[in-house]
């Protein structure tokens, strides 16, 4: 009797209190953002509050155009938010925050650099000696199965290979937090599954904090500690739900897990309206 109460209590805490139990790395406080395009003002983001804790894997889902990428750009500091503030370990940051890595949606590998040179780029910026750069890039290249392609240029690689290179380029210089904006978006289902698996392994090895944007709810649930659902534009946070599936997870089997299905269904209810509202906006626009 006592034990089961305690167990129930534990799961509840693990679920809801994940963030509270660890140090907050990033806190987003009442952040809103307005874009001005062609004389029109577009409210991209509205009153967003969110706390991300150390070592957490947070995923964000929402209809397209809901300001997910804007939120990422604000977190990394590419431009300042119109309203509210973003604190990194309790402090405001002016300009780009170099403790945060950013894996963008397009791979943005430099086409004039070979695969190896692309991965070594952030190390080069930091003046890491050539020998060490080589060792580190070699290790990462092997880690994600790109051996043999070190000297290939990006246009000679497949989309999946480029995206892997894009991810390990960011891992190479070991930022504390990594933002990922639909990194597996354009890839086929099989490649995605393999890369998702590799990503979880890397995350567990390197103990990073990851914020991961996706439009795919099942990807969001499968990867995350917590899933954030965002509303259609103007984007704000609609639901935050923990994913009570223990780690390490088997992504190849996770879709049959009851806890996965339950979380997925609950979140889908929340997301469905937004997807429809987003689609309606879309039609008005075009």
């Amino acid at each position: 009797m006592m034990a089961s109460v305690k167990a129930a209590h534990m799961t509840e805490r693990a679920a809801a209190g994940h963030a509270a139990s660890r140090d907050t790395v990033i806190s987003i406080e009442r952040v809103g953002h307005v874009f001005r395009t062609k004389g029109r003002r577009v409210q991209a983001l509205l009153e967003t509050d969110l706390r991300i804790s150390e070592g957490e894997f947070l995923t964000i889902v929402g209809p397209s155009g809901c300001g997910k990428s804007t939120l990422m750009n604000l977190i990394v500091g590419l431009f300042p938010a119109s309203t509210g503030e973003i604190l990194y370990r309790g402090k405001r940051h002016n300009g780009v925050n170099r403790s945060i890595g950013y894996v963008t949606q397009a791979d943005n590998l430099y086409p004039w650099r070979s695969l190896r040179k692309n991965i070594e780029f952030p190390l080069e910026l930091r003046g890491v000696p050539a020998r060490e750069r080589r060792e580190r890039s070699q290790h990462l290249i092997r880690r994600v199965g790109l051996s043999g392609f070190e000297n290939s240029y990006p246009h000679e690689l497949s989309g999946g290979m480029r995206q892997r290179a894009n991810i390990v380029r960011t891992l190479a210089y070991q930022p504390e937090v990594i933002l990922m904006d639909e990194p597996f978006g354009p890839l086929d289902a099989q490649t995605r599954l393999i890369l998702q698996n590799q990503l979880l392994e890397l995350w567990q090895e390197e103990k990073k904090t990851i914020i991961f944007i996706t439009h795919d709810l099942s990807e969001a649930v499968a990867l995350a500690d917590r899933v954030v659902v965002m509303s259609a534009r103007p984007g704000r946070i609609k639901t935050v739900a923990p994913v009570p599936i223990p780690r390490p997870r088997n992504l190849f089997e996770i879709h049959k897990d009851e806890r996965f299905l339950a979380t997925y269904q609950a979140l889908w209810l929340s997301l469905e309206d937004e997807v429809k509202r987003g689609a309606a906006q879309w039609q008005v626009q075009s």
Binding site: V76, L78, V96, R98, I100, G101, Y102, T104, A106, N108, Y110, P111, W112, R113, S114, F121, P122, E124, L125, R126, S147, G148, F149, Y153, H155, S158, R169, T170, Y173
Partner: protein, 292 residues
């Protein structure tokens, strides 16, 4: 396809009986080689036919006075080579190269400056547009007045043509760099300086290199046109002189020499470009095709 890709790293282990594949590949390669030879032979035959018609038709269908003939041109080339061809060629090439080097360097420097100091660049934009509207060759007579009939006026004209080419290409190239490249460099920790030298400049390099390539024949045109106007030496002057004396053979020979010079430059520059820009996918390599 997928399996060859995965195996590309190491040796591809062929299943038993796969030697047939090797044979097929060899047969296919032989076919490709044959196609190549066929193309070459047809080209050579076409050249011989055209030259023969020209040679045979001279003084039968048309007067040698107007069009000369291949054999006459060859004979003249031989005589000229013994005489002062080299001297004039060297003068023209010297004008071309001094003008080209100065023009290209200044053009790139100016483009970089205006791209870096964006405000100054914006201020100057309409002026640049206006100057760009001037047909540069039309300035040749003015340069003769300003810089005399010697080599300097030709150097300036050659330099001007390559300057504008490189200047516009550099400025447009630097301005059109994908902002995402710059943003991601900043995120990865690049300083202003690193961003410029490691990201912006390489990203704009295809523009600059293509302009440098096209600039060589442009500079040559500048030097030749300058010599046409007023000069005392150089291939352009010599061609002008032959024409004035109704010596079509001489003029055609001069043009032929220029053609060979330009072909040599283009071949060398294409090789160089292909090497420097080897990171580009092949399809976009056509961006800077030959300009004579």
């Amino acid at each position: 396809m997928a399996s060859t890709e995965l195996n590309a790293a190491g040796d591809v282990a062929l299943p038993p009986g796969a030697s047939n594949v090797e044979d097929d590949i060899r047969a296919w390669e032989a076919l490709e080689r044959r196609e190549k030879w066929k193309l070459m032979i047809v080209r050579v035959v076409l050249a011989i036919v055209l030259l023969s018609i020209w040679e045979y038709g001279t003084d039968r269908w048309f007067d040698a006075l107007w069009f000369s003939s291949p054999l006459r041109v060859l004979r003249h080339l031989w005589d000229w080579a013994q005489d002062d061809l080299l001297k004039h060629l060297v003068i023209t090439l010297r004008e071309t190269f001094i003008g080209y080097s100065c023009g290209t360097l200044l053009g790139i420097a100016m483009g970089v400056l205006l791209a870096r100091f964006a405000f100054v660049g914006r201020v100057l934009d309409p002026f640049i547009l206006a100057v760009n509207g001037i047909p540069r060759i039309a300035l040749a007579p003015l340069f003769i007045i300003w810089f005399g009939i010697g080599e300097p006026s030709k150097i300036v004209l050659a330099g001007l043509l390559s300057f504008f080419l490189c200047f516009y290409a550099t400025l447009s190239g630097l301005r059109s760099v994908d902002p995402a490249y710059v943003a991601i460099a900043r995120v990865m920790g690049a300083t202003e300086r690193q961003t410029f030298f490691k990201v912006v400049l390489p990203a704009a390099s295809p523009w600059i290199i293509t302009a440098m390539k096209i600039g060589v024949p442009f500079a040559l045109v500048g030097a030749i046109v300058g010599e046409f106007m007023a000069a005392t030496a150089g291939l352009g002057w010599k061609i002008q002189l032959y024409t004035a004396q109704f010596d079509t053979t001489g003029a055609v020979t001069g043009v032929l020499v220029l053609m060979v010079v330009v072909i040599m430059f283009n071949t060398a520059l294409n090789r160089l470009e292909a090497h420097v820009l080897r990171w580009r996918p092949e399809s976009s390599g056509a961006a800077g095709s030959d300009v004579q």
